[in-house]
Each structure stands twice: as C-alpha cells, then as structure tokens.
C-alpha cells in the first residue's frame, strides 16, 4: 500500500509537465511576434516554469514522506 500511495503522489508531475509545456508554447509565440523582447520573455518563462515545477516537487516530497514515514 505504501508503494501505491507513493505512486499516486508521483502523478502530480503530469500537471507540471502540461503546464510548463503550454507556457513554453505561448512564450515561443511571443518571441516569434517580437524578437527583440526575447530576454524579457525568457526571464518570465523561467520564473513561471520554476513556480509551476514546485507543484511537481511537492508531489515528490510527499512520495518521499510516504515511503520513509509510513
């Protein structure tokens, strides 16, 4: 049961993958529209990706907590 719980906790990565993929798609569109703003766009993209990835990391931490504490 511990393994099933940890496996379900790891499903949190789906959301992060989809979210960061969509964000990158819009960032690439924005760069294609206005190439001289690309450094600003890249900075915002990295920030948004790091914040979205935190949700996947919460899932990872929960998985580790489940394995080692239960």
């Amino acid at each position: 049961m511990t393994a099933i719980g940890a496996g379900i906790a790891a499903l949190a990565c789906i959301g992060a993958g989809i979210g960061i993929g969509i964000a990158t798609a819009h960032a690439v569109d924005a760069i294609a529209r206005q190439p001289e703003a690309d450094s600003k766009i890249m900075r915002n993209l990295l920030l948004g990706s790091a914040l979205a990835e935190a949700t996947a990391i919460y899932g990872f931490v929960l998985g580790i907590l489940i394995i080692f504490m239960l």
């Binding site: 990295l46 790091a50 914040l51 990835e53 935190a54 990391i57 919460y58 990872f60 931490v61 580790i64």
Partner: protein, 250 residues
Amino acid sequence: MKDMAAELVARLNVDTAFTIPIFGGIQIAESVVISWVVMAVLVLLSLILTSGMKVWNPGKRQVLAETAVNWLDGFTKDMLGPDATEYSEYISTVLLFIGLSNIMGLFGMKPPTKDMNVTIALAVMSIVLIEAAGIRRKGGKGWLKSFTQPIAIVTPINILEIFIRPLSLCMRLFGNVLGSFVIMELIEMILPVALPLVFSMYFDIFDGFIQAYVFVFLTSLFIAEAAEPLMPSEPKKKKNRKQKNPSPAA
C-alpha cells in the same frame, strides 16, 4: 539493488559531524558544518575583494567588486519595488548564500539546503521579515487592518497565507535540492567518470541558481506587497445633504 537502495538512504540522511562536549554533548549536524564552509568562503571573498580600496586609479579587483555589487544592488532593488528598497542588502546576502549552498554538490560536499532544517530556517526568516516590513510601513493597527484588504471576505485566506507562504518557500527549495542530489547520486553510482559532468551542468548549477533566484524573488515580491501603503477607505456618506446646501433657485 537492495544495497544500492541502502546506500542511497544512507547518503540522504543528515549525519552528525561532531559533538561539542559541553552541556551533555551538543550534536553538530553535517549541514551546519557545510554552512560554515559557505559562510567562510563568502566572508573571505568579501575581505579579499574589498581590501586596499582607492578612490583614484582603482585596480582591476576593485572594479570587479564594484561591478558585482552594483549589479546585485540594482537587481534586488528592482525586485523590491520603490517602497521597500532598504531590505536590498539582506536579499542580496540570501541570494548569494542560497546560490552558493545549492552548488556545493559540485565540490563533493552535500548541499546544506538538502537538510530541511536549513530551508525551514530560511523560510522563517523570510516570513518574519515580510511581516516586520508590513508593521514598519503601516504601524500595528494598519498591519492588522491590512488583513481585511482588498475585501473583508478574504481575511481568513490572508491569515492562512502567513503559514502557507513560508511552507511553500521551504518545500520548493528543499524538494528541488533533494531531487537534484538524489539524481546526481544515482548517476554517480552508475558511472562515476564522465556522465555526471554533463548532467550536473543542469541539475547542480542551473537548478541551484534558478531555485535561489525564485526564493529571493518571491520573498522580495511579498515584501513589496507588504510595504505598500494601505488603500484609502471609503468616505462615509453624509445623510443631510439636501438641507445643508440650499439650491440656488430658492
């Protein structure tokens, strides 16, 4: 596979490095010792870069130091906004400390931020600074009143945010550093010669700096938000307007 898992678990735990033999033995954890190493490196770097500074004819070392400090200063003041620029030195220090701690894996030592105690301490310092910035700007009563802004309904959410913000800051930093560390240990167990170099460019360096930047950016964003002046409240409507202002036609 079993002893690989056992070795991984052994490396994940934070060991006690040594024990100070007073008061019945205070145990000093490994992460504290490596934090001392990070502090020593930063202090030595500062001392070397700022010794023998001159106003005219500055040497190359001084120009380098001035460029770095100016860049950090402008960067953090930009993030803090116009109302809260007095916290820029603390934010720069935290940025340098977390940035250097996260890439300690490159030098063969465990990063101190892999220990949850270190990240909890950093997050608690951040939330204390955020609330203190709010109290300094608005006074005690104004700070209490700011919980009911922008609408009174969101007051429980604002109160919960005092606990949720440091929790998310702590978990984000801890989880990223722990994840990078685990992956690098697994790669080193498979092939310790050339493969770790390629992957450590992403996991250790890139991820470490990005997480330091995100931690510092979020802290300064919350400080800037806490240091905004209170929104002015609605003026009370007067009831006897018609009697006080006689119409000019009368």
